[in-house]
Symmetry: C2
Subunit: 293 residues, 2 copies
């Protein structure tokens, strides 16, 4: 069993997601908070230049820059591509301070509550997720679409770990409740790692529900790419709730409903995330998957 | 009695407040919606360059550029100062298409519901506000601090009119419910103007509650200006609700409450507005004022 020697807590991978940024600042002021007996905890501000200008990113989304083809390309010049390489040189597996586990802190305008996005389906990550859902039943576990490709996410540079995605919260604001809930999740992860290193396995249920993305849905758009409809009021803020075939997804500006035409019940997530308008994502449709851990 | 010959509906004075922008686009596609029998309705996209880049502004807040000293200064070079002058040349009192009434559409991350901010306390504006609150009891009427200075707001370039401020909504997203409610308010204003021009005065109550700003409160900050506390969970989203002396306003990152130390009950508004962090505004404290209309 691999020992976890170093945990890295990353805030501000997106420069306008203040929850993670102010948690990292707090831990930098009071490092004793993240000290545990049998591993080192480090903090990292992911995108300081984007934070300084109050934006998600300067040139491109840092959390889409961690594919090998970007990390290994010396000809890239965008601030975020270079920053991804810098981060990889510090906490990547051959870096100066290689992380054994990464916690990457995010927030969303979607009503995703407290969501864990495991870095991979490694049994350790699923057991950690099961632990977090057992200590707080409100925690949801989400996965992006499975692909065989190189993952672009920061969390992917380390086998162990997860992103924490909390919402709904606007970019550029702090919400004290979400701040405290995120901090509690971080402490739960650190406690879990400490126990794991001592070969203590907390009692958790032996199965876990994962909301597995099966399809990404864009807004209806016209030929020039302009949005033609909004999230339907009956779907807004209903992340992780059942969407049945024939139920409304969108509402045009003229008040016409657009229905979900799939054939099975799905559980949308990332509904109306501000940063995803430009990515062509109105929501991610997921299915519940039961995983044995 | 002055006839109103031209109403101008402005969206996107802030480029990331999509509600107003998409309403303007809707009215540009379907101009018949804002046609009334006895005046002309125009639309204007306030800050198209900021909208194109998905930000509140390019260089400076356009809605703080309508003081006379900016409008009359030919030496200014910021995009927004020049844009304010352009707008003034179109819809200002000596412009090519002078507005008799302006409706300026805004949104906020604060829980301000449907708020009307009259351009002035001109009896017409107060009567219009009274009409809007009588047709929809959820409508609140808000005023910034009274000053003798030149107002920097777009709505100030016209004697008649108001801003509509809706929330809570994150910048960069559309919320179908708020979109429809804002549209309904615009139609109510247009209907009111049509009746007014016909010398028909709708039945409304003869008094009106205005939430009048008496004080602006910043976040607690350290010497370098960095925020030291968040809006307290017990105050978050409680815009227009009573705040009593001794009740919590802020929560430090270490979990210490900071209390409201004023001597009288106030009604905070613009609580936790994203764009006001940089302006040094955590909330605006208001008092209820009863106005006879």
């Amino acid at each position: 069993m691999k020992q976890i020697k170093r945990v890295v807590i990353v805030g501000g991978t997106h420069g306008n997601e203040l929850t993670g940024i102010f948690l990292v600042k707090k831990f930098e002021r009071s490092p004793e908070l993240i000290v545990r007996s049998n591993f080192e905890s480090l903090t990292l501000l992911g995108n300081p230049k984007a934070y300084a200008i109050g934006r998600r990113y300067v040139e491109t989304d840092l959390n889409r820059c961690f594919q090998r083809q970007i990390l290994e390309n010396r000809n890239l010049s965008s601030y975020e591509a270079i920053r991804a390489q810098e981060i990889y040189k510090i906490i990547g597996c051959k870096g100066s301070h290689p992380a054994d586990l990464i916690i990457d802190l995010h927030s969303t305008t979607a009503n995703m509550g407290l969501t864990i996005i495991p870095a991979s389906k490694h049994p350790f990550n699923l057991q950690l997720a099961a632990y977090l859902t057992s200590t707080n039943p409100d925690v949801k576990v989400y996965r992006w679409q499975e692909t065989n490709q190189d993952s672009p996410f920061l969390r992917s540079i380390c086998e162990f770990g997860c992103a924490i995605e909390v919402g709904p919260i606007a970019p550029g604001v702090l919400d004290a409740t979400l701040f405290q809930q995120t901090e509690a999740l971080i402490h739960a992860i650190l406690d879990y790692v400490e126990a794991y290193n001592k070969k203590i396995k907390p009692e958790v249920k032996d199965s876990l529900t994962i909301y597995q993305t099966i399809q990404v849905v864009d807004y209806p758009r016209n030929e020039s790419g302009e949005i033609q409809a909004m999230i339907h009021p009956r779907l807004q803020f209903r992340d992780y709730q059942e969407l049945h075939p024939g139920e409304p997804m969108f509402l045009t500006f003229d008040g016409q409903g657009i229905l979900y035409e799939g054939e099975s019940i799905v559980y949308p997530a990332f509904i109306n995330e501000a940063a995803y308008y430009e990515k062509g994502i109105a929501m991610c449709l997921t299915q519940e998957q039961r995983e044995i851990v």
